[in-house]
């Protein structure tokens, strides 16, 4: 039995990412700590409510508890909390926030939220994602891709579905066009606010294939409850084939558009 098993009776959802096991482990540790304290408090309360009810104990004791047990319990709580901070919270977060994957197989992509859908921009065959700006978003350029950026020529956009290969790290640039959304990938134990004007990122490494809901985790308007996208983790081969095909199609389309004079950036 592992520490994180305590999360199961609390209904934890399946984990499908590499670091997710660490999240669950830490959560399990905290849940055990909470359970011990809660059982201790409850046992104490049940005892005193029974033992010291007026009908059982007519005269109260002026002094009450005299020992130092409470001080020791308080110190114990502080020590466990210090362990949680120093042993878990700081190193784990620093790993997550500062040590982004650099391996060659890392997928760099962009998730751009709008009411009430997600646009996923993929780097295409060159594995390089274009830069973008909010002011550059037009009906034909839904992710505001910098049209002069050569990295973007083979980038493609897949609205509504985030397709990823199992076993490769992915870095997602998360942003929004209109209001604050949140790209919540619960099975990946990852979430990131998509805030207009803020360039934010998240990363994770899927370790299981499957299909899950992508939830918008921040109130974004009347359609918030239906702002759903799909997270689809497939085999590396399937992903490669799909990505190559989509990328080639996007490149052909971009080359044609570049040849036509009408494809100027938006007036704004």
């Amino acid at each position: 039995m592992s520490i994180s098993d305590i999360n199961i009776p609390f209904g934890i959802t399946q984990n499908a990412s590499e670091h997710g096991g660490l999240v669950d482990h830490m959560l399990g540790f905290v849940h055990w700590f909470m359970l011990v304290l809660f059982i201790g408090w409850s046992a104490f309360l049940v005892y005193v409510f029974w033992k010291y009810r007026a009908s059982n104990n007519a005269a109260a004791d002026y002094h009450g508890v005299r020992g130092h047990a409470t001080t020791h319990i308080e110190i114990g709580v502080v020590i466990v909390e210090a362990i949680l901070l120093l042993g878990f919270a700081f190193p784990l977060w620093s790993h997550q926030a500062d040590e982004y994957p650099t391996s060659a197989d890392t997928i760099k992509m962009r998730a751009l939220g709008e009411k009430f859908l997600w646009n996923f921009q993929y780097p295409g065959n060159d594995l390089m994602l274009s830069t973008w700006k909010l002011a550059g978003v037009t009906p034909s350029n839904v992710t505001g891709r910098e049209l002069n950026d050569p990295n973007g020529k083979d980038d493609f956009v897949n609205p509504g579905t985030m397709k990823l290969p199992v076993g490769r790290p992915v870095i997602v640039d998360v942003a929004s066009k209109d209001v604050i959304h949140n790209l919540a990938l619960t099975p990946m134990r990852s979430a990131q606010d998509a805030c207009p004007g803020v360039k934010a990122h998240m990363w994770f490494k899927p370790v299981k294939t499957g299909t899950w809901d992508i939830i918008c985790g921040q109130l974004c308007g009347p359609g918030h409850a239906q702002m759903k996208a799909v997270l689809e983790v497939v085999t590396p081969k399937e992903f490669e084939d799909w990505s190559k095909e989509m990328s080639a199609g996007a490149k052909a389309k971009n080359d044609t558009a570049a040849a036509a004079p009408a494809a100027a950036p938006a007036a704004h």
Binding site: G11, V48, D61, V65, W93, D213, G221
Partner: protein
């Protein structure tokens, strides 16, 4: 009759010393702290009821999305009522069905009303106004007229919030947090921006905050300057200490929100871009704005208020329990000094934790380290406060009056609320739990079966001082038990849903996210099975818990009926108090006539000992009031040496 005569025999003589004001001055535009306290308390209770009613509509939609609200047709057929209901809610619910727009209005107003118009007015303004001046032995607040202004500014803010439902746009629908840009750009096309729900929310908040500021300055001044002779700081009941701390939180934390509200209003009305970034879009179009603003700035300003606000909500409950528990265990509060220092530490730290609400905004390691440290640190004084209250029970002779039942239930309920905050304190775990129902369960355990139970305890405890009558004990128990069961049926399943990835603010309760909501576990099986025993078909997955929670809300609703009856009927029909100190308490408010007249005390009151001297060895009664030199005999003012800390007494 002799008891009643005994109660009032000196009160009537004393009343001649003061000019008794006329009806309007006495009950409406009153400057008397007790009337203002009662006005605040009753307004707060009514707003709590209204906020709860909004939540019932939301819970209906969550459990039964797409189905008409029960009784919708009946309400619509009652003349007068149908007009009000239709203008407020009905016109947004085609065929009686709650949609995303209406749900967001209900949600924003539920949060706003519960926090700013319900709990703070009742828990802080109501109780502090009624009890504190009595408890420190003075005739009124330091600035009685300012106090009256405080209530009436609050009243305007409440009317403004309610009236916003009737506007063409309906009330605001962007969450009680009013995050920009959502709050700034929703229904931007409205031509008359002054008749917009969001504008009215912001203006009402300006009134509300101004009312809070007037109240908090008054409380601070009164406690510092007007304590009775002999009532040194460390003889002051913990109730006053906690309220003193709350007053400072309100004084220092609210102004940033007032600023934020004005800046957001300016973005809306005058076309500025304080919170709006360059290139921002709405409805597929780039907005014609200068840009360059920051939505994150708004969040910082909001949470700089809204985290201390959490302690504004919870400290009044601790304040009340610190009085109710000693009175009903017949022994002193354990660790009074530790509680005072813990309270002060808590107040200070509450200003340093706000950004833990913003862990997912893209925070770097330095910021997250800082806020994780402060967040974990603040749990230490919280645990001290809770521990002291629990240890106070040990060795007591516990009388389970209704107020003690609510106080007793507060302890484990607040305990659950506090403990479930622990995982949320860590950014790494927040990746999985942020804005899920786990968070909703956590903070509602803190403020609903936590704070609100504390406030109920306070109502039962001081009701006899305000009315001269005791609330019915049986109805009190009939209020307590369904409330306890209902609260837990509502909030416990939320942890299971949150762990399963359910996020907040879904008007259809997660039906649309089929993959997430079709998960089942032992708890959903149990829920479905138990409902099955009663012939009800409830889904055997996380959606089934929505039905369970809604049933819990209905039980909670039914549980409030005995309270409402008890509260109003006991004014005339309750059992009369046997004397001015019906619970045999020790603090100064029980030395006044019942109810206290204008001017409060009939003799020069002095404090000669600490606030919680119950069951003192060698004393022949189990309470030794602060104002008595020997049991049953009021201390002479000359008996108290003029302590430097005690200020002059009017």
């Amino acid at each position: 009759m002799s008891a009643a005569a005994h109660t009032h025999d000196h009160a009537h003589d004393h009343a001649h010393d003061h000019h008794e004001p006329g009806f309007i001055a006495k009950y409406i535009f009153s400057t008397d702290h007790k009337t203002i306290g009662i006005q605040y308390a009753i307004s707060g209770l009514l707003f709590l009821l209204f906020g709860f009613f909004l939540m019932l509509l939301m819970r209906w939609s969550i459990a039964y999305p797409g189905q008409p609200i029960p009784g919708f047709q009946i309400i619509n057929s009652i003349p007068g009522v149908s007009w009000v209901f239709n203008e407020m809610i009905g016109r947004w619910a085609p065929g009686g069905v709650v949609n995303g727009e209406l749900y967001n209005m209900l949600g924003a107003m539920h949060g706003t009303i519960m926090v700013f118009l319900g709990i703070v007015p009742l828990g802080f303004a109501g109780f502090v106004n009624f009890v504190m001046p009595l408890q420190i032995g003075t005739i009124d607040m330091a600035f009685p007229r300012l106090n009256m202004w405080s209530y009436w500014l609050f009243f305007v803010s409440g009317v403004g919030m309610l009236a916003s439902f009737f506007l063409g746009t309906g009330s605001v629908q962007t969450g009680w947090t009013m995050y920009s840009p959502l709050a700034s750009t929703t229904s931007l096309a409205v031509t008359n921006i002054w008749m917009h729900g969001h504008t009215w929310w912001l203006l009402s908040m300006v009134f509300n905050i101004s009312a809070s500021l007037l109240g908090s300055v008054n409380v601070i001044t009164t406690i510092i300057n007007l304590r009775a002779k002999g009532l040194t700081w460390m003889r002051m009941p913990f109730f006053c200490w906690a309220m003193f701390i709350v007053a400072f939180l309100l004084l220092l934390a609210f102004p940033p929100l007032e600023v934020a509200a004005l800046l957001q209003l300016s973005d809306r009305v005058f076309g500025s871009s304080f919170f709006l970034p360059t290139g921002l879009m709405e409805g597929g179009q780039h907005l014609d704005i200068s840009g360059g603003g920051s939505p994150l700035l708004y969040q910082h300003l909001f949470w700089f208020l809204a985290h201390p606000e959490v302690y504004v909500l919870i400290l009044p409950a601790f304040a009340i329990l610190a009085e109710v528990i000693p009175a009903n265990t017949r022994r002193p509060l354990w660790g009074y000094k530790a509680m005072v220092y813990a309270g002060l530490t808590l107040g200070f730290l509450s200003f340093l934790v706000w950004a833990h609400h913003m862990y997912l905004t893209g925070m770097g390691t330095m910021m997250s380290t800082y806020f994780q440290i402060t967040t974990v640190l603040i749990s230490v004084p919280s645990v001290i406060l809770l521990t002291c209250l629990m240890i106070s029970l040990w060795g007591g002779s516990i009388r389970f009056t209704p107020q003690m039942l609510f106080a007793s239930a507060f302890l484990p309920m607040f305990g659950i609320g506090g403990l479930t905050g622990l995982p949320l304190a860590f950014t790494f775990i927040d990746l999985a739990l942020h804005d899920t129902y786990y968070v909703i369960g956590h903070f509602h355990y803190v403020v609903a079966p936590g704070t609100i139970f504390g406030l109920f305890a306070g109502v039962y405890h001081w009701y006899p001082k305000a009315t001269g009558r005791i609330m019915n004990d049986f109805l009190g128990k009939l209020h307590f038990w369904p409330s306890l069961v209902g609260m837990n049926l509502i909030f416990a399943p939320m942890f299971i849903q949150g762990m399963g990835g359910f996020h907040r603010r879904w008007y259809d309760g997660g039906k649309y996210f089929e993959q997430t909501s079709s998960v089942s576990n032992w708890f959903t099986e149990l829920t479905s099975g138990v409902f099955g025993l009663f012939g009800m078909n409830v889904p055997n997955n996380l959606l089934g818990l929505n039905v369970l929670i809604t049933f819990g809300a209905i039980i909670l609703m039914l549980g409030q009926v005995p309270f409402i009856l008890n509260f109003w009927l006991s004014i005339k029909g309750g059992k009369k108090v046997k004397n001015d100190n019906p619970w045999d308490c020790t603090t100064l408010e029980w030395a006044t006539p019942t109810p206290p007249p204008h001017g409060n005390f009939t003799f020069d009151i002095v404090a000669v000992r600490g606030p919680y001297e119950y069951s003192v060895p060698g004393v022949n009664q189990d309470f030794f009031p602060q104002w008595e030199s020997s049991p049953g005999k009021a201390a002479e003012p000359s008996a108290v040496p003029a302590a430097p800390a005690a200020a002059h007494h009017h």
